[in-house]
Amino acid sequence: MAEYLPAAKVSEIPDPGRLLVELDDRLIVVLHAAGSFYALDDICTHDGGPLSDGELDTEDLSIACPRHGAKFSLRDGAAMTMPAIQPTVSHEVKIEDDTVMVKLNDS
């Protein structure tokens, strides 16, 4: 059973903003948008490239892969546009005091 791991201080990630962190030997992009925090694997499922430098859309709550523009939902990692057709892995997030805590999804 995965536990929540401290990923960042709330103050480290402005709204909107993102921070790439290493958690348990994985690269996770922690995102702050429209008042909420999210966490996704830093992997575009289209070609395996990194998502973390992509454009963040605070209206439809998505991040676009900087390589080919595939959009992924911040809420659940769902692939919203081509060329990606598989979701990226999303992780549960909670705030404890001033810390963003992430529970890694093992899938």
């Binding site: 290493e22 030997d25 994985r26 690269l27 992997i43 070609d47 395996g48 490239g49 990194p50």
Partner: protein, 436 residues
Amino acid sequence: MSQAIASAAFSPAAFEAHLASQNEPAWLRERRQASHAAFEEMPMPGMGDEEWMRTDIRLFHLDRYCPPAEAPSESIAEPLLSRGVELGGDMVRADGHLLTSSLAEKWASQGVLYGSLRVLVAEHGDLLRPFFERQVVDARYDRFAALSDAWWSGGTLLYVPRGVVIDEPLHMISAMSDGGADLGRTLVVLEDGAEATLLAETASPNEEAGGMHCGTVELIVGDNAFLRYVNLQNWGSKAWHFSHQKAVIGRDARIQWTIGALGSRVAKVNQHVALAGEGADAQVNGVMFTEGKQHLSYHTLQHHQAPHCHSNLLYNGGLQDKSRIVWRGMIKVDTEAQLTDGFQRNDSLMLDPDARSDSIPGLEIKADDVRCTHGSTAGRVDEEMIFYARCRGYTRQEAIRTIVAGFFQQVYDRITIPSVREALGQAVGQRIREYE
């Protein structure tokens, strides 16, 4: 994400201490110093680089590894390739250090050198210097190549004088402790008309061991010479493996180069064959099998530099779980390399829907009278083949296992050394899951 990583273990001060411990000729010391300076300046490859855009090494931290100071007291892994083979020589290395080395007197008396590169370059510096100076592997290709050129330790040398035919395989195993570092370097030189077979394998003490290997393999095959070289990469599943490997083939010379890629967490390998002399012939065989979250990235180049050369590459990969194989192959034909016959093929068998194979064959041809063909396939186990096997009494699991074995058989059939065929078949067979 490209950035130079400061590492105390590989700092200039540590490097000077490393140099002082090597007892090497001045020319080699100077070369190491130049490569270390380049290493200090070069950025770590990043995903913005074409060759690295499919291989993520952001979780690799060089500063977590140290050049091994002392050798383990005994061998830390069992060899696979030498079982039941009458050997002409054998070597055991651990964490880059030589543990044992032997060469049959009948070969030593003919001038053959086989053993630790570090030891032999100190004893035969004048003989070996021209081969180092050929810079077969470009030490400035990337940061890993520079690191290897500056920091290599131990290593393996096989030198076969003109006309000497070694009709018994030579073997070496290089093992790495869990969490350790291996900076081995291999240099093979076959003078004109020589023949030899070298079975090289890497291993870890257990299947889940980690560590870092950063090394180079240089194969120099003289005119009319024939080299069979086998390289079985079988590191533990948490190891990082970075390797630059290149062969230069002389006039009417031949190489049969077989790669088995089974281990490591992430492997990034450049395997180049330069057909430098007229009529040179290269056969390249690859067997890759991955599982878990392994990521193996192999970049091959068949470089035709002279007329009438022949190259034939076949890489087969089987992928399980969420593993990924990247194969990027190029046949490059220079303007003067007329009447080239080049072939490359990569087939991938997808055993799990979450596995991923990136297969990218390429041709770059400047001559106008050549035949170059390439191809690539990827697919799952054919349900009709399973049905056919089940009609003859196989269970589904037995059918899949047999089909997977058959998939690799087309590569095994090209390998002329029985122990290598058996070792590869056994290693792959142990990894195949029981699929429903």
